[in-house]
Amino acid sequence: MNVSLILIILLVGAFATYIAGDKLASKVALFFGIAALGCSVVLLNHFNLGENISFLSQWINQPHVSFSLNADGLSMAMVLLTAALTPIIIFTSFGTEHKNAKAFYALILFMSFAMVGTFLAADGLLYYIFWELSLIPIYFIALIWGNGDAEERKKAVVKFFIYTLAGSLFMLVAFIYLYQKAGSFLIEDLYKLNLSATEQLWIFLAFFLAYAIKIPIIPFHTWQANVYQKAPAVGTMLLSGIMLKMGLYSVIRWQLPIAPLAAKEYMNIFIALGIAGVIYGSIVALRQKDLKKLLAYSSLAHVGLIAAGTYTLTIDGLRGAVLQMIAHGFVVVGLFFVSEIIYRRYATGTIAEMGGIRTQSPKFASMFMILVLASVALPTTFNFVGEFTVLYSLSQINVWFAILGGTTIILGAYYMLKMYQQVMLGETNTKAFADVSLNEGLALVLIIALLFFFGLYPKPITDLITPSLENIIKVINRA
C-alpha cells in the first residue's frame, strides 16, 4: 500500500462524479472525498508504524523523469490537511445550487488530486506538472461559478491565471538548470548539488517569484483580494485553505534546501518581507467594505507571518509555520463558509448591509465568534500554537522581528472584532436571518472541534512533522 492510492481515489472520484450526473454529483464527490481521507488516515497509520509508503516508478527516459512520490511527515501532514478539507469544502456547498454540478464537483476533486500530487512529488518535473495542473480546475471554478459581474470576474481570474503561470515559469527554468547540473530531477539528487553562491541566488529568486505570487507575499499579492471576492465560496476555500499552502510548503521543501546559501545570506530581507505583509495586510483589512475581501487581506497578514517563520531556517520557525499552515487552513475555510452562510441569506458581501444578526441567530453568532477568536490566535485554539511558535522563532533571530510580527495580535483583534461588530452586533436587522441549518452547523462544529482539539493537544501533529523538518534543516546546513 502506498500513497499513490490517494491520488487514484481522487482522480477516479473526479471521473465518477462527472459520470454520475448533476443530481448525484455532490454526494458522489463527498463519498470519494471521504474515501481519500480514510485512505490517508490508514496510510498515516502505516507511516507511523515505520512502513515505507512512498512510490517510485520510471516515467520518462529522456530526460530522466520519474513518477516519484515521497511521503515523509511533512508531506503526510499536508496531504492530511488537503484530504480533511476537501470533504468539508464539498459538504459546505450542499446548501447552494450549482448549474452543471457534475463538472463543478469533478473539478473540486481534480484540484484536490493535483494538490495532493504537489505535496507528494519528489521529482522536480513531476512536482512542476502537479503544481501547474492545480491551476486549471480553480481557473474554471472561479470563472464559471463565481459571483458578480461576469466581465469583471473574467478580468480578475485571467489576471490571476496568467500572473501565477508566469511566475511559475521561472521555477521551470530553475528546474531545467538544476537538471543540467544534476542529471536528474529527483529531489535527493538536487539536495546533493553543490552550487555556487551566485547560482543559488538565481535559483532562489526564481523559486521565490513562483512562491511569492502563489502564497502571496507582498508586493505580489494584487491578484488575491479580487479573486477571493469573485470566486464562489468553494473556490475561495480551496485557494485560501489549501492552495496557498502549496507555496509555503514548497519554500520548505524545495527553495530552502536547494539554495541554502542564498537563504542564509538574505534571510533578514525575506523575513522582513513576510512581516511587512503582516502589518500591511492587517492595515489594509481595516477599511475593507466587502467581507470576503477583508478575509483575503487577513489571510495575507497571516501567511506573511508563516512565510517569515519559514525563512528563519530554524526548527521552531519551520515547525511553527507548518502548524500555522494547518490551523490557518481550517480557520480560513470556516470563515469563508461563514461569509457564504450570510450570502445565502442576504445575497450580499457588503459589510454595511449586514449588522444586527446576532439576536436572530445565536448559534451562528457563537460559532462565528469562535472562528474569529481562533483567527486572532486565542490560546487553546490551534492557531495560538502555531503563532506562538513562529513568533518565538522570530524572537530568536531578532527581538524586533517578534515585536513587529507580534503586532498581528493587536491589529488582528482590531479588524476582526470591528468586522464582527459591524456584521453581527447592533440593533436587530430588519431582514430576517435564519439560524444555521443542520448541514451548515455540522460543518462549522467539525472545524471548531478540530481547532480546539489540536489547540490543546498539538502533539500528534508536532511528532509527525518534526523528524522530517529536522532532516530538511540538516540538508540546509550541509554546506
Binding site: I283, S366, V385, Y392, V399, G426, Y457
Partner: protein, 627 residues
C-alpha cells in the same frame, strides 16, 4: 486525589458554562443562575480544602497533565501549581465570585439572556482559575487571554448598543497591546532559561550568579507592559472606565476584585525576576504612584457613580503597583485582598442603587437614599471608610503599609501616594453624600418606586462589608499572618517586620488625618453647603479638563486610531492600486511588444531580405573588428 480535586476546582465552572450555554434557556432563569452559582461555590469549597491542607503541610502541589507546546530548547506542559500564592488568590476569586453570582441571580433576573450572562460569568471564573493555578507562564497566558475574552463578552453583554460594543472592543484591543508585551517577556525568558515553568525558573534564577541583567531587565519590562494592560496602569488604563458599560456585577467581579489584579499576581509570582531588575522596579513604582494620583484627580469630579468607582479602582491598583515596585510584594497582595472586599462591596452597592433607580447612574439625580435603602447605605458606608483608610477598617492597614514602605524608600512617592489617599477619602464621601444624603433629586415617578433591594442582593453586601471591616486582621502591623504565610514565595527575606517606633506612629497619624481631611472637605461641600455638581455644560476651567479625563481618550484617538485609519486609507487608495496597475502594466508591455513585433513579421519578402543583408553586414563588421 489532589489531581482530581484540582480538576474539580477548575472544571466545575466550565461545566457550569457548558450547561448554561446548551440548556440554560430551557431550564429557566432561576435554575440557570443557581446552577452557575453552585459550580463556583464548589470551586470555593475545594479552594478552602486546599487552603487548610497547605496551612498544615506547607507543601506546594505540582500537577502535570500532558505536553502542550514543543519548542526546540524546551517544552511547555499543561500543568498546575497550587502553592501559597495561587491558593490565596483562589480563595478570594472563588469566594467573591460565589457572592457575586448569588447577587446576579436577583440583579439580572429581568434580562432575557440571563443564562448567557451566567455562562460567561462561569467561563470567566474558569479562566481566572486557569490563570492563577497554571504551573508555567503559558498556562497563565491561557487564563490571561481567556479572562480578557470574558471581559469583552460581558462588557458588550447588551450587544444591541454599539457604544457598549465599542467599549468591549477597546478593552480587548488595549489588553492585547499588553499581551504582546507579556509574550515578548515570555520569549526572552524561554530563550534565556529554556523553561517557562515557575519552579524550574525560580531555581534557575536564584541559583545562578552571572546572569545577563540587561536581558532580564528587558524581560521584566516587557512583562510589566503586560501587567499595565490587564491591571489598567498608565498608559494602558483608559479601557477600564469604559468597561463600566457592562452589567454592574461584572464591574464588581472582573473590573474591580479579580481580573484587574492579574498583573499584580504575575509580578508577585515572578518576584525573583523583578528583584534582579532594579531599574524596572523603579519604573513600576513611579508608574504606580503617578497612576494612583492621576486617576484620583479624575475621580474627584465624575458624576457617574460607576465612573467614580472605576477611576478609584485604577487609583488603588496604582498603589499596589507602587508597593510592587518597592519590592514589598506581600504588601501589594495584602492591598489586593482588602481592596477586593471593599471595592466589590462598593460596586455591588452602586448596583443596588442603580437597580432601585431603574438604571440611573448620574449622582446628580440621586440623593436621600439612606432612608429607603438602609442596608445598602450602611454597607456602603463601611466600605467607604475602609477605602479611605480609617481605622479599624481593613483598608487602613493595607494602605498604611504601602505608605510606610513608600516613606522608607522615597519621600516624593510617599507624598504622591498620600495625596492620592486624601483625594480618595474626598471623592468616596462625595459619592456617599451625593447618593445617600439630603433630598432625592430624581423624578417623582422614580421616587415612588424607591425600595431596598431584595435579600439576594443585600446578603452579599453584608458579607463583603463584614470582610471589609475585619480583613485587616490578616496582616496586623506587628504580627502579620499574611507575611509569614507568603514567605516561601520570596527570594529575598520579606522586609523585616516594622519596628514600631515614633516615626511609624506619626506616619500612621498623618495617613489617618489625611483621610479625615478628605472626608471633612466632602462633608463641608456636600452636606453643609449642600452643593450638587453642575450640569456638564457649566463645568469650566481645570474641572472641565478633569471631567474630560485630561482628554487622554481624545489624544489616543488622534495619535493612534486616526493615524492607523489614515494609513489604511492611503494603502487602499494608492498603494494597492499602484501595485495592481504595475502588474497590469507588465501585461500591457508584453502585449505591446507582441503587437509591435507582429509588424516585423508581416510577410513582405523585401523587408526580410533587407533585414537579412543588414544582419550579414553586422556580422562581418563584428568579425572584422574582432580581428
Amino acid at each position: 486525589m489532589d489531581t482530581s480535586l484540582t480538576l474539580l476546582l477548575l472544571l466545575a465552572p466550565f461545566i457550569g458554562f457548558l450547561f448554561n450555554v446548551f440548556f440554560g434557556k430551557s431550564i429557566g432563569k432561576s435554575a440557570s443562575g443557581i446552577l452557575g452559582t453552585l459550580t463556583v461555590a464548589t470551586s470555593f469549597a475545594t479552594s478552602v480544602y486546599f487552603f487548610m491542607q497547605i496551612s498544615q503541610t506547607h507543601q506546594a502541589i505540582q500537577i502535570q497533565l500532558f505536553d502542550w507546546i514543543q519548542i526546540s530548547n524546551f517544552k511547555v506542559d499543561f500543568g498546575f501549581l497550587l502553592d501559597q500564592l495561587s491558593i490565596l488568590w483562589l480563595l478570594f476569586v472563588t469566594g467573591i465570585g460565589s457572592l457575586i453570582h448569588l447577587y446576579s441571580i436577583s440583579y439580572m433576573h429581568d434580562d432575557e439572556n440571563m443564562h448567557k450572562f451566567f455562562a460567561y460569568l462561569n467561563l470567566f471564573i474558569f479562566f481566572m482559575i486557569t490563570l492563577v493555578i497554571g504551573s508555567n507562564l503559558l498556562v497563565l497566558f491561557i487564563g490571561w487571554e481567556g479572562v480578557g475574552l470574558c471581559s469583552y463578552l460581558l462588557i458588550g453583554f447588551w450587544h444591541k448598543n454599539q457604544d457598549f460594543n465599542d467599549a468591549a472592543k477597546k478593552a480587548f484591543i488595549m489588553n492585547r497591546i499588553g499581551d504582546l508585551g507579556l509574550l515578548i517577556g515570555i520569549f526572552i525568558i524561554g530563550s534565556m532559561f529554556s523553561t517557562l515553568d515557575y519552579a524550574t525558573l525560580k531555581t534557575a534564577i536564584t541559583g545562578t550568579t552571572n546572569l545577563n541583567i540587561t536581558w532580564i531587565s528587558i524581560a521584566a519590562f516587557a512583562l510589566f507592559i503586560g501587567a499595565c494592560g490587564k491591571s489598567a496602569q498608565i498608559p494602558l488604563y483608559t479601557w477600564l472606565p469604559d468597561a463600566m458599560a457592562g452589567p454592574t456585577p461584572v464591574s464588581a467581579l472582573i473590573h474591580a476584585a479579580t481580573m484587574v489584579t492579574a498583573g499584580i499576581f504575575m509580578i508577585t509570582r515572578l518576584n525573583y525576576l523583578f528583584d534582579l531588575a532594579p531599574d524596572v522596579q523603579n519604573i513600576i513604582a513611579i508608574v504606580g504612584a503617578v497612576t494612583s494620583l492621576v486617576a484620583a484627580t479624575i475621580a474627584l469630579v465624575q458624576t457617574d457613580i460607576k465612573k467614580v468607582l472605576a477611576y478609584s479602582t485604577v487609583s488603588q491598583l496604582g498603589l499596589m503597583f507602587l508597593a510592587l515596585g518597592l519590592g514589598a510584594y506581600e504588601v501589594a497582595v495584602f492591598h489586593v485582598i482588602t481592596h477586593a472586599f471593599f471595592k466589590a462591596c462598593l460596586f455591588l452597592g452602586s448596583g443596588s442603587v442603580i437597580h432601585a433607580l431603574h438604571g440611573e447612574q448620574d449622582m446628580r439625580k440621586m440623593g436621600g437614599l439612606k432612608k429607603v435603602m438602609g442596608i445598602t447605605f450602611f454597607t456602603f458606608l463601611i466600605s467607604s471608610l475602609a477605602i479611605s483608610g480609617i481605622p479599624p477598617f481593613s483598608g487602613f492597614f493595607s494602605k498604611d503599609e504601602i505608605l510606610m514602605v513608600a516613606f522608607e524608600h522615597n519621600k516624593v512617592l510617599w507624598i504622591i501616594a498620600s495625596l492620592a489617599s486624601l483625594m480618595t477619602a474626598f471623592y468616596m464621601f462625595r459619592l456617599l453624600y451625593l447618593t445617600f444624603f439630603n433630598e432625592f433629586r430624581g423624578t417623582a415617578e422614580q421616587k415612588s418606586h424607591l425600595h431596598e433591594s431584595p435579600s439576594l442582593i443585600t446578603f452579599p453586601l453584608i458579607v463583603l462589608a463584614i470582610l471589609a471591616t475585619i480583613g485587616g486582621l490578616i496582616s496586623l502591623p506587628t504580627n502579620s499572618w499574611l507575611n509569614e504565610y507568603l514567605a516561601p514565595l520570596f527570594a529575598k527575606a520579606s522586609h523585616e517586620a516594622h519596628h514600631f517606633g515614633t516615626t511609624e506612629y506619626a506616619l500612621m497619624a498623618v495617613a489617618v488625618l489625611g483621610g479625615l481631611i478628605g472626608i471633612g472637605i466632602a462633608y463641608a461641600k456636600y452636606i453643609k453647603q449642600n452643593i450638587v455638581p453642575e450640569e456638564d455644560s457649566q463645568i469650566t476651567g481645570f474641572a472641565k479638563v478633569l471631567y474630560n479625563k485630561y482628554y487622554v481618550d481624545e489624544i489616543y484617538d488622534a495619535i493612534f486610531v486616526q493615524s492607523i485609519n489614515s494609513l489604511s486609507k492611503f494603502f487602499n487608495q494608492y498603494v494597492e492600486t499602484t501595485l495592481s496597475s504595475l502588474v497590469f502594466g507588465l501585461g500591457k508591455v508584453t502585449n505591446e511588444l507582441g503587437f509591435q513585433g507582429k509588424k516585423i513579421q508581416n510577410g513582405s519578402i523585401g523587408r526580410y531580405l533587407f533585414a537579412f543583408v543588414l544582419g550579414i553586414c553586422a556580422i562581418i563588421t563584428y568579425l572584422f573588428l574582432a580581428q
